[in-house]
Symmetry: C2
Subunit: 214 residues, 2 copies
């Protein structure tokens, strides 16, 4: 498999955790977002949406969108199960992942922040208020969803990591990066710490990637 | 089943199309967004994220996030299949749905537009430019993805409607509502017209809902 990503992309980070949890090897190709490499004709031929990540499978399929890639990996390969076998629990896990992928992350990705700064001319205080609002509200919703489930577990939906944790960890990492204070979200912080001590998550961290830039 | 939605919500519109395509009956409860009913304690007890739609199943489960609800419906009930049985095609359909649900719709929903107008003080021209950018780029990506698939089909991924069309139609409806010009996206417009002539889509239209307001 060839994986086209970027160290800082939350969506690529999700896929890296999934590869690691399932014990899958892949060839990595960095798509340098800051220099606009994702807008090149070569990359658009793989993913017409021109966003990382993309996956070229061993039989030549071109996949994109991190949640679709992760479901495909889970349906195609053995190893740890990332999405529950039980359809009712699966709906809860997918919904939690979608709270992050559909409601939080889209409001903080690179192209939106560039629009806020360049097209709308917002200063850093206004950009930080935007980030605090959407990351803060969104991660509060995640905390409330977990609280509604009942007693705390090591990972979001039980004692083993899965799709919910795969989405949560890069989102908390972004909150740290953007200095959004979520210190009061005790359950999320406990799960985040748990994940940091798991080698599959640690190896997927942006700082551990070959294309990392400080 | 009890379905909690709102006539204008794109995510609720998706679910309504899914119910209709599968021939499922449901009791509808309107959650009036403009008067903030989604922020009530009653609704938050069902969906801590405080966003429509939500589904209360016959056995009392509380589900939310439209894509998770639709996958659950497809896995639980017979009738038309909304998500392909083939895992490779399924990955393509999910990715297309996620382009809309994770990259277009989040940037145009009510709370974001309220933030642009109230918190950032943007005038209507700036709000319209925002909408034109994200809906325009996003639907262009959808057109390019369909073009890459090869010859045109009646619906996005073949001769029968499914999850991709379920997501596309409310997004095109939003583009119309916000006066975003997508007249050059010929394939999307042809699929949209095809869907309008399908009774399952027509009955799900916002104007056909009991809580519709002009």
């Amino acid at each position: 498999m060839r994986f086209l990503g970027y160290f800082r992309s939350s969506s690529a980070y999700r896929c890296r955790i999934a590869f690691n949890l399932k014990g899958l090897e892949y060839d990595f190709e960095s798509v340098h977002l800051k220099s606009g490499k994702h807008k090149s004709a070569d990359f658009a031929a793989v993913n017409p949406q021109k966003l990382v990540p993309a996956l070229i499978t061993d039989d030549g399929q071109e996949l994109y969108q991190s949640l679709a890639i992760i479901e495909w990996l889970d349906e195609t390969y053995g190893g740890a199960r990332l999405i529950p076998a039980d359809k009712d629990l699966r709906a809860q896990v997918r919904a939690f992942a979608q709270v992050i992928a559909c409601e939080i992350h889209p409001l903080q990705n690179l192209r939106v922040l560039q629009y806020l700064r360049s097209d709308l001319g917002l200063g850093e205080d206004a950009v930080n208020a935007w980030l605090a609002r959407w990351l803060g509200d969104g991660l509060q919703a995640c905390e409330d969803i977990l609280a509604k489930r009942g007693d705390a577990t090591a990972y979001c939906f039980g004692d083993e990591p899965g799709l919910a944790d795969i989405c949560l960890v890069p989102q908390v990492f972004s909150a740290e990066r953007f200095n959004v204070d979520i210190s009061h979200l005790t359950r999320i912080n406990a799960i985040y710490e748990q994940c940091q001590s798991n080698p599959a998550f640690a190896a997927a961290h942006p700082k551990a990637q070959p294309d990392f830039e400080a």
